[in-house]
Structures are given as C-alpha cells and as structure tokens.
Symmetry: C2
C-alpha cells in the first residue's frame, strides 16, 4: 500500500474584490450586517469577465510548478463543477497549456466542497494501481458566474478561486484512509438551475451538523486515533456559523481549527487546500503532524481523511 505527500500548494483568487459592507449600498433592502454577523465573511473575490475555472487554474498551477520538475507529472486531476464549457475537461486543457507529457491520465471530477478530499482518495487509489506517481491536483470553481442579481444567500458567501498542488506517491505501511457520505436527497439544497446557483443554507447546515460528527468519529476509528491526537482540523470554510457549530459539537480546541472564511469567503472546492497553504506558510503545520480534512456540501456529499503531513 501507499501513502502520499502534498506539496507546492498554491492558489489564485478572482481579481475583483468585494467588501461585504459595500453590498449595503448595492442592496439597501438586504440586512448585510446581520448576514455578516452569521457568516463571518467580510470580503469576497469574484472572477472578472475574462477569468474562468481554466485560466484561474493555469495561474495557480504556474505557481505550483515554479519549484517543481513538471516532466515528472504523469496525471492531472481537476475538481470542478463550474467550468465555462461543458466539454472538454479542464484537465486535458491543462495538459496542453502547461506542455505536460501526453502519455498521462487526465480527468475532471464533478464535486464541490467535498471534492478535495474525494480527489485525494482517487489519487491515492491511482497510486495503489501504479497508474500514477506524481499528480498535478487542481480544484477550481467560479460560483459567482452563475448567480442571479438578487441571489442574496450566495452573493454574500461565495468567492471564485482555483488551487493546485503536487501529490506524490510514498511507500508506506500506513495507507491514508477515507470516510465518505452521500445523501442525494439534499440535491435541491445546492443546485445550479437556469444559470443560477440556488442554496438552501439552513438545510445544508442541518445536513452538516447532523452528519459530520459520525464521519468525524468514523475516520478517527479507522485510524485508531483519538481527537486529541489530531494536530489540526481543516474544515471546508463554509461560514462562521457552520464552523462554530462543528467546533462546539465535536468539542474541539479552537486553536486547532483554522479559519480564513472571514478574509476570502467560501471558495468551494479550493477551500481546504487554501487553508493548508495558509497553515503551511504560517508554519503551523509541521512534518509528521496529523491533519484531519473534512469536506462537505453540494451533492450533498461529505468526505474526511487524516493525513500525515510530509
């Protein structure tokens, strides 16, 4: 069996910044202060007209590849649900744009906020099959391109971003384990329809607070770990409300629960890798530490893993 390392973390946010307090002028009938109090989100990054999942991804990948020998890459995995074109897949376009080799595995994964953890499980499985050794792993979503003007729920929460990293195979007696949850009964709770993404926040909040504790305990059990042995809990940055509630229910040490939603909003599939990048840059996570990753959202879908930081 194998495990993996994650390195060269990078990301690219949309170019247009939006301070939430500015929304008061644009939407005087929205109670923006009240929303901000709940979500904790004060600033968003929106893609401009020219930016999309593909070119935000390319910008992020170029940062990732700055200090990496790209000839080693034998696989590109992209997590996205909001590409500009239905086809072809972004992963194939990245292969070409970055001049990566052609005898490679490339596909897009259609998932959102659980997508980074799901993607890692696919990559880790490809390692076990000897299909890949060195993966360029990209997440990218631009929800704000698919929002009606009066879409208050989403316009106060989502940012556009792409993120990227290198995932490499490592021989290990302790393979990385994963836990998954799928509940399509909540499909209408976060749905794109007629170029508008509709979110029923309270339903997703309910799904999350009801199901994440089970997933949390399941992944601890699979790893024979107690929560006290985890060095950092990296949750999808949904909002203050959600992370406060999870920290409370799971009785976690607040110092082990990093938050960046206040500064950059909910970046969907890029949310977890951006937190990892922030944690690494701040020197918070160190070699051999145990990091729990927990993603949840559209699908509805959730996934968790405990990774050993290399």
């Amino acid at each position: 069996m194998n495990s993996f390392s994650i390195s060269n973390l990078a990301y690219q946010l949309g170019s247009n910044t939006l301070v939430l307090s500015d929304l008061k002028k644009m939407y005087p009938h929205w109670n923006v202060d009240n929303v901000v109090k709940k979500t904790g989100i004060k600033k968003l990054y929106l893609s401009n007209e020219d930016e999309d999942v593909f070119n935000l991804s390319i910008k992020s990948c170029k940062k990732t590849l700055k200090n990496f020998d790209q000839t080693k890459i034998d696989c590109v995995i992209v997590v996205t649900q909001t590409a500009r074109n239905k086809l072809p897949s972004i992963s194939c376009m990245i292969q070409d744009k970055l001049n990566l080799k052609k005898n490679m595995f490339a596909l897009d994964v259609g998932l959102g906020c659980s997508g980074f953890v799901y993607g890692l499980s696919v990559i880790s499985s490809l390692f076990n099959s000897n299909i890949a050794k060195t993966v360029l792993f990209v997440c990218g979503d631009t929800y704000t391109k698919f929002l009606n003007v009066d879409n208050r729920t989403c316009r106060t929460v989502f940012s556009d971003a792409a993120s990227s990293c290198i995932v490499q195979k490592i021989n290990s007696k302790k393979p990385t384990k994963f836990s998954f949850l799928t509940d399509g009964s909540g499909a209408p709770d976060l749905l794109e329809i007629d170029k508008n993404i509709v979110m029923k926040g309270p339903n997703i909040f309910h799904f999350t607070t009801k199901n994440i504790p089970n997933l949390f305990n399941d992944i601890l059990r699979k790893n024979s770990l107690k929560k006290e042995q985890i060095d950092q809990f990296v949750f999808h940055q949904a909002s203050k409300l959600v992370i406060d509630k999870l920290t409370d229910i799971l009785q976690l040490d607040n110092n082990k629960v990093f938050r960046n939603y206040n500064k950059i909003g909910n970046t969907v599939s890029s949310s977890i890798p951006i937190v990892l990048e922030n944690l690494q840059k701040k020197g918070v996570i160190k070699k051999n530490q145990k990091i729990m990753l927990v993603g949840f959202g559209v699908g509805l879908s959730a996934a968790a893993s405990v990774i050993n930081w290399k």
Copy 2:
C-alpha cells in the same frame, strides 16, 4: 492486487428516433446521402424535452438492478459531460433516487468517449484501496440537447443514451492494466460553447488514426499479449470511417470488430458499454475471453484496456 467483473449491462436510448434519410426533407441543402455513406450511421435516438442524463441513467440503472441486490452497492461512478445542471453531481442524485446506502463513495467523472475505460481504471483503483467492492457504474450523455439547428457535423452522428452496469471486485494475481493518452491541443476539436457542441471531425479522425495504434501496441505489451490472442476489439463507435480505418491500420480480423453505430449512432460515453451488452446478448463474448476496450474522443483523450471477461 485485484481485478473486476462487469455484469448486469443495460442501457436506455433517447425516445425520439430519427432516420437519417428523414434529414433530407428537413435540410435539403445537406448532402445527407454522402454523410451516411461516410459515417455508416442510419438511425439516431434523441432525448425528448423531458429526458436528460439523470433520468435516462435512472431508467438504465433500474434495468441493471432488476437482478441484483442493490444493498451491496457501495459506490456510484457516473461519466458525463452533458448533465442538465452544473451541480450537484448525477452520482449523488442516483444514490437518492435508487435508495442506495448513504455511507458510500459517489462522484461524477467529466470525460466523453474515453470515459468508460477511464471510469473502469478509477473503479479498479478504488478496489485496490479497499474504498469500494461493488460499483454501480453509469455513463450518460445527451449531446443533441446542445446542438444548433444548422450543426450538420453533430446532428448526423450523435445519439443520446445512458448505460449502466455492476463492476465487482475480484481477487486476482493479474490486475487489469490500462493505457492512457491526453492531448489537450485538440480541445477545440470537440467543444461545447454557447450551448452548441462544435466538432471538427477531420481533426479527431487524424488524432485517432495517428495515436490509437500506439495505445493499442502499448496495452498489448503491458499484457504480454499478441493481437491474435484478443477475442474481441471493442472500439468507441465513432463512425464507419473511423472504425474502418482503425481495423485497416491495425490489420484486425473484421469478425472480431463489432459495430452498432449504423443502428444507434455515436452514443459518446455509453458507446463501449452498449457494444458489450450487445456482444453478451448475442453470445459472442464468453467467460475468460480477452476483450480489448478502446475509447477516444473529446479532450482529446484516449484510453485502452484488455479485460478478462468473467
């Protein structure tokens, strides 16, 4: 290592049939006879307004599950690029609609005509990671929903369909091997833009006839097999032109190259599994036979494998 069995193959075509000769009346300025001579495609199946990737998939899955204990299913993988909604993923919606268990792995794979082979490689890898044992594997595409009225190239070739099967883990000393090719420089050759799928047929023909022979030899080499030892070659059913050319270049026995494009058109991701269903129903493929699968198209992307029929 593990291998897998494929069973309970089923499919659902779009409800509206279109005999190509009828296009003559609708488009008197198109040289339909000439097109049919090249493509060999005489009849197409188009989705009606109510049909989409999701409900065609559900109809197909119900056939697949007719003689299968669905409580065993611990994973749903859907290959599609033409779902009605950008999100959520079809795999999550299938989990709910078919009342499958919730502690399962579910994701969509964004690929087209190479997607069935790619999907098998992902499934086989999940088996090696003990993430799944019994997969409901679905392919579905409805290209005809994204075609301008005057889109002659696509309107004479593509059918809408979903297909499904059960893929089960089998312990094996001989794991199934795969070969992949990704060439995003051909991304513009099959592209959805502004709700219209644009195909540059000659470019894809060139990509296919140039690259498939290498992929073909690579997968034979990986399996230490000669082409004479393969019992059936299952190619993506692009068109008569493509399959004639491949059969010719690779010097294959025509009796080992099944064709159904003439009767149902090019069904994109469902093309290979529908051929497998047809071959099995006709009693052509038997236990322990070696079947080569070769998918190629949008991306541009190609994948090949030799499976041992169980």
